[in-house]
C-alpha cells in the first residue's frame, strides 16, 4: 500500500494527480475463503479489516452486490456520538467513538472526523430531567456529557428560536467529543486498509443463496458462482431480513425508509450538530457549506430508497420551528436509505442458530457512528465464535428472553423506534 502523506500529495500534484495507484484491487473471487462477509458497506469492510488486523485472519472476501459504500454508508447524515442511556449501548458506542478518534492514523486515510460536538436540545422541565438522567448515565460510564442551561446554549448556537411559543429552548445536553465524519471516506479507508492486509473486495457480486450442509454453513451462491467459506458474516443493513431468509432465519426486523436533505452552500452557520427536542430534526453543516439535515422515518415498511412528501414537509417544518432562518434556504438534494429497524431500536452483532453464520444488522438510523466498533466486535465474534463483552447483549435471543434494549421505550413497533 502506498502510504498517503502531505509530501506524497505534493509529489502527485506535480504530475497533475494522474498517477495515483488504485486504492484497492479488483480480484476475481477465489473458490473458497476462511471468512466471507456479505455486504460492502462500512460495517462489512470494517469487519474484514479488523479480522485481518486484530485476529490475523486474512483469507477473507467482502462480497458486495454493487459498488462498495453506496448503501446506507453513503446515504447518512454522518453524525457520530455515544450519548446513550443504557450501559449495553453506551459501552459499545463509546468504544466505537474511541476507535473513531484514532481511525485516520490507523487507516492512513482522511475520514474527516470532526469532533465538533453534538447538542441535544430540551424544551421543558421533564425533558431536562430526562437529559440529566441520560447525561448522568453517560458520565457514570466514563463518557463526556455536559448539561447546558439556556444561556450557555445561546452562546453556542445563537440562531435558534429561543422563545418559540410552544417549544422554548430550556437548555441542551452536550457531548463535545461527538461530531461528524465523511461517510464515503470511511468506506474507502476501510476498503483500502483491508485490501492492503490481503482481503479480497469483490464488487458487483450479489449473494443469492447461503449453502448449508448438516446445519453448517459451507459458502454462498452468488451472481459470479459459488464461493466456499468456513464462516459467513451478514452485514447488509436494509436487506438483512432477505439475506437471513436465505439461511431460513426469520428476524425481529422490518425495513423502513429514512430521508436526508442538503441545502445550497452557505457561509458558516452552525458549527456543531444540533438536534431538536420537540420533534425529529437534526442538523450540521458540511465542509462545503451545505446544511445536512434529517428527521424521522417515513413510518411504513419500504425497500425503496426514496420516501414521501408528507415526511419532507414534516422534517422541514420541524427545522424551521427550531431555526427560523432555514425557511429562506433552498434544498438542493434529497434522498432515502433503507433502515434495518429492530423491534427495540438496538442492533444485532451475534451468532445465529446456523453454525458458522454470523449476523451484523439492525442498525436502524444510527449505525454510521457504530461503523468501527461494529466491525471490531463482529470480527471478534466471528474469530472467537463468541461475542466480546461490548456486544454480548446484542443477540437475537434477547427478545425472546425479555432483555430488549429499548432506549426510546417505544415497544416492538419499528416505525415508532
Amino acid at each position: 500500500m502506498t502510504r498517503y502523506s502531505g509530501l506524497r500529495l505534493l509529489g502527485h500534484a506535480l504530475s497533475g494527480h494522474a498517477r495515483w495507484p488504485r486504492a484497492w484491487r479488483a480480484p476475481d473471487p477465489k473458490p473458497s475463503y476462511d471468512v466471507v462477509i456479505i455486504g460492502g458497506g462500512g460495517h462489512g469492510l470494517a469487519s474484514a479489516y479488523y479480522l485481518a488486523k486484530e485476529h490475523g485472519i486474512t483469507n477473507v472476501a467482502v462480497v458486495e452486490k454493487g459498488p462498495i459504500g453506496l448503501g446506507n454508508t453513503g446515504r447518512n447524515t454522518t453524525i457520530v456520538r455515544s450519548n446513550y442511556l443504557f450501559p449495553e449501548n453506551n459501552h459499545f458506542y463509546e468504544w466505537s467513538l474511541k476507535l473513531w478518534e484514532g481511525l485516520e492514523q490507523d487507516l492512513n486515510f482522511n475520514v474527516m472526523m470532526s469532533q465538533r460536538g453534538v447538542l441535544n436540545l430540551f424544551h421543558s422541565d421533564s425533558q431536562r430531567a430526562a437529559s440529566a438522567r441520560r447525561g448522568n448515565s453517560m458520565r457514570l460510564n466514563g463518557i463526556d456529557a455536559e448539561l447546558l442551561d439556556r444561556e450557555q446554549v445561546k452562546a453556542m448556537v445563537p440562531l435558534l428560536d429561543y422563545d418559540n411559543a410552544r417549544f422554548p429552548v430550556f437548555g441542551g445536553l452536550l457531548q463535545r467529543r461527538g461530531g461528524t465524519a465523511r461517510h464515503d471516506a470511511v468506506a474507502w479507508g476501510f476498503a483500502r486498509a483491508a485490501d492492503a492486509r490481503g482481503v479480497d473486495i469483490i464488487q458487483h457480486c450479489e449473494v443469492t443463496g447461503i449453502r448449508r450442509e448438516g446445519g453448517r454453513v459451507t459458502g454462498v451462491e452468488t451472481t459470479r458462482g459459488f464461493i466456499g467459506a468456513r464462516k459467513v458474516g451478514i452485514a447488509v443493513a436494509g436487506n438483512t431480513s432477505r439475506v437471513a431468509a436465505m439461511a431460513g432465519l426469520r428476524l425481529p426486523i422490518e425495513s423502513h425508509v429514512l430521508q436526508a436533505f442538503v441545502t445550497e452552500g452557505l457561509k458558516p452557520l452552525v458549527d456543531m450538530v444540533v438536534t431538536f427536542g420537540a420533534g425529529h430534526f437534526y442538523i450540521s453543516q458540511s465542509d462545503k457549506g451545505g446544511l445536512v439535515f434529517g428527521g424521522g422515518l417515513d413510518g411504513y415498511n419500504s425497500y425503496a430508497q426514496r420516501g414521501s412528501l408528507p415526511t419532507v414537509e414534516h422534517v422541514w417544518a420541524a427545522g424551521v420551528a427550531m431555526m427560523p432562518c432555514l425557511s429562506r434556504l433552498r434544498v438542493l438534494r434529497q434522498w432515502g436509505g433503507v433502515m434495518d429497524m429492530t423491534m427495540d431500536g438496538s442492533p444485532l452483532i451475534c451468532r445465529t442458530p446456523v453454525e458458522g453464520l454470523y449476523l451484523n444488522g439492525g442498525w436502524c438510523y444510527g449505525g454510521f457512528k457504530a461503523t468501527p466498533g461494529s466491525g471490531w466486535c463482529f470480527a471478534h465474534t466471528i474469530a472467537n465464535d463468541a461475542p466480546h463483552r461490548f456486544n454480548a447483549a446484542m443477540t437475537i435471543e434477547r427478545f425472546r428472553e425479555g432483555r430488549a434494549i429499548d432506549e426510546r421505550g417505544a415497544g416492538p413497533y419499528p416505525w415508532a423506534q
Binding site: 422490518e254 425495513s255 411504513y300 415498511n301 425503496a304 412528501l309
Partner: protein
C-alpha cells in the same frame, strides 16, 4: 406518496393515516407457548414485495384499513375492511 382508498371515506392522503404494521400476524391462543408469542410480537417476514398491512385512518373515520402495498414500488393493489380477505398479487 400514497393515496389510500379507505372503504368508508374514499381515496385519502397518506398523511391522514397512522401506520400499524404487518396485518398477517395473528395473536396465538393464550396457551400457545412462548415461541408462538415471541414470533407474534417480534419476528416479521419483512418482504421486499407485496405486504398486507394496517393503516389506521386516524385523522378520518378512525377505522383500521387493511392495505396490500408493494414495499419496493409503493403501489397499492387493494384496500379493505379489517375482516376482508384481500387478494395478494403473485409478484
Amino acid at each position: 406518496m400514497h393515496l389510500i382508498d379507505c372503504p368508508w371515506c374514499g381515496p385519502r392522503d397518506e398523511a391522514e393515516f397512522a401506520y400499524r404494521g404487518d396485518a398477517t400476524v395473528t395473536r396465538p391462543a393464550p396457551d400457545a407457548g412462548i415461541d408462538a408469542f415471541y414470533d407474534y410480537v417480534f419476528t416479521r417476514a419483512n418482504p421486499r414485495g407485496w405486504h398486507v398491512e394496517w393503516w389506521h385512518h386516524a385523522a378520518g373515520c378512525r377505522q383500521h384499513v387493511k392495505v396490500v402495498r408493494h414495499t419496493m414500488t409503493h403501489a397499492i393493489a387493494a384496500t379493505g375492511r379489517a375482516t376482508d380477505i384481500l387478494e395478494v398479487p403473485a409478484a
